[in-house]
């Protein structure tokens, strides 16, 4: 979107938001209520749209906020802002309790536990005397600052400021370090953990923050309506919030506002349609889920993005098209240390005054695995595996399909736990360490099935790799100005790595717009961003053509030349024999032989088990 379009959109939005201020008191009051719903929905967007946590009981936190303000206003003389702060705080505490239980589970359990928690909250509110029971609490004052009742118009201005602040926050978060981590988390929790995300902590933090914001919406709602009752805490209310987010567009911020207008504004404005409301909302949600998964705002955004791409690059360049090699094709005799390669390597590895440092050299094993075993029920995927990776070496792990190579990577990176054996990292036992801690120690991986975030650009996917080298938290990420310095350092490094991979021209493309071979390179680039001492690459050459494979070989040699180690799982024997220092052969989970490529290639057992069949 050009600057002129942006201004036009901002002015149009300001006009729409300001319109109720001069409209009748009915419209002003309705707009205020809808805005408070939108605030609550923005909180849910953070939890579900961004965090991927489907909360079926979000009205509980709305209710906690509303009742905190209502009861506080009845029992105390505190100004409204203090009560609103209390509403956020209590909603956050409630979310912390729910989250600590529910986030230990995954899938349906999380959703249904939030629903169960909401039913408890609703039952307590309905069953306890000091919440007014089924009739609720009335007479909530709007004495926000302790200076007397505010007008509806002032309340509306405050609510609009809150909802715009919330939308700005979540949209800014999307482009920040934790926003990228959340995107990874939605696609593949193993990916998030592999780049160093403490998955549980990030989920809990996001959940608590989203619920606190929903609590704020509830508090303002109580003040806007001047009363609360259990109907605003029930299951129907929870579902309405979800419908708002889904129809408006998940993970867009603005979608929550648009959804609140559709879900609450239109039915209130057209009372005669009251009986049709449920049916219409249900059908509309189904249509959105089946046909327009992006929702209203998401669909518009995608359209703008496509248009921008076709305008800036011309219609032909916008389409994926065939791979365009940016570096001239080179023969397999190309060796590391050749002029252009080294220059590119410097660009990528140059420690940008920030947190990146070169790995410490040494000859003690970096990774020392002994007696590793993994059983799945009665099946033994790996057993008795001893393997040492020496700093500055490429160690290949080969074997037929099902030999346990990917299982080995999963065990080393901590996605999976061994049933026996030890994993040591520089004399430190890490067998029980969670995956994100291992990533922070200095290991980075790629996945056999390419794991890239479809909603992030290539550059953002790379930036994800720098996660544990950077600090920006959710709160700072949501206020873009505070995170600028670090973002700039990450961005510079991304450009360096993209250059090194020859992918600079694809920086702003999305993964599904580029060829498969280059997606694999993006994964390697993400691992490079972590500045890891050990890169665990799971079939990086699968799907690459010969030229691309040769490029990859040169890249891996470059990486080794920097003193880093690589554990390479690969089926392309020419590549393995070409660049490896040490090769370990696995067969049905048991190590057959470890040695230099030559030794392994001559071993009769190995040839019988694997190489003979392959070659």
């Amino acid at each position: 979107m050009s600057a002129r379009h942006r201004w036009a959109a901002a002015i149009a939005l300001a006009a729409v938001l300001a319109w109720p201020l001069q409209a009748s008191s009915f419209w002003l009051g309705l707009s205020l209520t809808v805005t408070t719903y939108a605030i609550a929905a923005v909180g849910l967007d953070l939890v579900y749209g961004y965090g991927g946590m489907l909360s079926l009981g979000h009205a509980a936190f709305f209710g906690i906020g509303a009742y905190t303000v209502a009861i506080g206003s009845r029992e105390t003389e505190l100004p409204g802002v203090v009560l609103l702060a209390g509403a956020c705080l209590l909603a956050a505490v409630g979310a912390l309790v729910v989250g600590l239980v529910a986030l230990r589970t995954t899938g349906y359990y999380f959703s249904l536990l939030t629903l169960a928690a909401a039913l408890i909250v609703a039952s307590v509110i309905k069953g306890v005397d000091w919440t007014g029971g089924p009739s609720g609490v009335g007479g909530v004052d709007r004495n926000l600052l302790g200076t007397g009742e505010l007008t509806v118009a002032s309340m509306y201005v405050i609510a609009v400021a809150a909802v715009l602040g919330g939308i700005g926050f979540v949209r800014s978060l999307r482009r920040s370090r934790q926003g990228r981590a959340l995107a990874a988390l939605r696609v593949n929790p193993a990916l998030a953990a592999a780049v160093g995300v403490d998955v549980l902590r990030l989920k809990l933090g996001t959940f608590v923050l989203g619920c606190a914001f929903t609590g704020l919406g509830g508090g303002l709602f109580a003040q806007s309506l001047a009363y609360v009752s259990p109907e605003f805490v029930g299951l129907t209310q929870s579902i309405q919030f979800l419908v708002m987010v889904v129809i408006g567009g998940m993970a867009t911020g603005w979608g929550a506002l648009a959804g609140a207008v559709v879900v609450r504004g239109i039915p209130e404005a057209v009372q005669s349609l009251r009986d049709w409301q449920l049916l219409a909302l249900g059908l509309l949600t189904l249509v959105v889920l089946v046909r327009f998964r992006l929702g209203v705002v998401g669909t518009v955004e995608a359209w703008v993005r496509r248009r921008a791409a076709s305008v800036s690059a011309g219609p032909t360049a916008a389409r994926p098209g065939p791979a365009v090699p940016t570096t001239p094709a080179v023969g397999s005799d190309e060796v590391a240390g050749d002029g252009s390669g080294a220059a590119a390597a410097d660009a990528g590895a140059a420690p940008a005054d920030g947190p990146w440092e070169r790995p410490a050299a040494g000859s003690a094993p970096l990774l020392d695995v002994s007696g590793l075993e993994r059983r799945f029920g009665g099946v033994t995927a790996l057993s008795g595996v001893d393997l040492q990776v020496t700093p500055g070496q490429i160690h290949a792990l080969i074997g037929p399909n099902g030999a346990g190579k990917t299982t080995f990577i999963n065990l080393v990176t901590g996605v999976d736990r061994p049933t026996a054996g030890r994993i040591r990292w520089r004399d430190r036992d890490i067998t029980r360490e969670p995956p994100h801690r291992r990533a922070r120690l200095g290991m980075a991986r790629t996945f056999q099935l390419v794991a890239l975030c479809p909603e992030l650009t290539v550059a953002e996917n790379l930036a994800l790799g720098a996660y544990h080298r950077t600090r920006t938290g959710v709160l700072r990420g949501g206020t873009r100005l505070l995170a600028r310095g670090e973002e700039r350092a990450v961005h510079e490094r991304v450009l360096g790595v993209l250059d090194r991979l020859g992918l600079a021209h694809l920086a702003d493309r999305r993964p599904d717009e580029i060829p498969v071979g280059q997606r694999r390179l993006v994964e390697v680039g993400r691992a490079l961003m972590a500045d890891a001492e050990l890169l665990l690459l799971d079939e990086p050459a699968a799907g690459l053509n010969e030229t691309e494979t040769n490029e990859l070989a040169r890249l891996l040699r470059d990486i080794r030349a920097e003193g880093r180690s690589i554990l390479l799982v690969e089926h392309d024997m020419r590549l393995v024999m070409d660049i490896s220092d040490v090769v370990t052969v696995l067969d049905f989970g048991v190590p057959l032989r470890t040695g230099t490529p030559d030794e392994v290639a001559r071993d009769e057992q190995v040839v019988a088990a694997y190489l003979g069949v392959e070659a």
Partner: protein
């Protein structure tokens, strides 16, 4: 003592209706891997249908047929129009789809039958059966019997027959199942129709015992889910879990407060989830 027995029987009766919802959820989950939160609506719609038809003069036994058929037909529509199209969607999207479908059904119920609760005539009339100090209405006996019979039928189909084994294969890995020559879509459809039919029938028989109204379906689905989880998500477990949940709820309502029946359900779910890892560990230790 007789008070406790009466409460327990009331619990078993309501538990039988939960067990039937749980059964539908377990079967649908077996073929689609989706927890179908619209399952409760099949019962509600079965109840409403029976109420309307009997009011129009149909004998109850005859009204059961369209009630059951409606449940099965709507479940087929759910599979065909939604779940099949969304088979590549993520878990939350699928779950949300079943919720949105439940809301759609609720909307239709409001339009067709209004917001007031309905009831209907009993299928089995006659004096209550007295056993010791316990009086059991014949209709409640019929509902418990229906739960037991349908569980046995489902057990025969799902756990014992070749079709049932194929269904498990479909949920486990649809692509692999397809390659072995299994007609994946037919089995998914079959599973959902079975679940929907059970739901419609259950709603029709439960109608005179518990009022039916449009807002009841989602709560019923949640109870069915909790019952299924409590029973270990198996066909037999659905019955056991449903009956147990019903009794827990009845005891809570009688001895704590009638406002806290949902709290009991929620606490059961939380307890099962928190205990889950330990149960798994114990099972692994005894090799089950």
């Amino acid at each position: 003592m007789s008070d406790l027995l009466t409460v327990a029987w009331a619990g078993l009766t309501v538990g039988a209706s939960y067990a039937l919802v749980a059964l539908g959820i377990v079967i649908a989950q077996r073929v689609t891997r989706v927890v179908n939160l619209a399952q409760g609506e099949f019962s509600v719609l079965g109840g409403f249908t029976t109420a309307t038809l009997t009011a129009a003069g149909w004998p109850v036994a005859l009204a059961l047929v369209p009630a059951a058929a409606l449940g099965g037909a709507l479940a087929a529509v759910q599979e065909w129009a939604l779940l099949r199209r969304l088979r590549d969607a993520t878990g939350p999207i699928l779950l949300l789809t079943t919720v949105a479908l439940a809301v759609t059904f609720q909307g239709a119920e409001v339009l067709l039958w209004g917001r007031d609760p309905r009831t209907g005539p009993v299928l089995v009339s006659g004096d209550p059966v007295v056993l010791g100090g316990l009086r059991m209405s014949r209709q409640s006996l019929a509902l418990v019997a229906l739960a037991v019979v349908l569980t046995l039928v489902a057990h025969a189909v799902i756990d014992r027959s070749a079709t049932g084994k194929a269904m498990s294969a479909v949920a486990e890995d649809p692509d692999a199942a397809r390659m072995t020559g299994i007609d994946v879509y037919r089995l998914r459809l079959l599973g959902l129709v079975l679940a929907g039919t059970i739901g419609g029938l259950a709603g029709a028989v439960a109608l005179p015992l518990f009022l039916v109204d449009f807002s009841r379906g989602l709560a019923l689905s949640l109870k069915g889910f909790v019952a299924a989880v409590l029973g270990g998500s198996s066909v037999g477990g659905a019955l056991a879990g449903g009956l147990a949940l019903g009794v827990i709820e009845a005891l809570t309502v009688r001895y704590v407060s009638d406002l806290f029946s949902d709290v009991a359900t929620s606490l059961v779910l939380i307890a099962v989830v928190l205990a889950g890892p330990y149960v798994g560990r114990v099972r692994a230790m005894v090799g089950a």
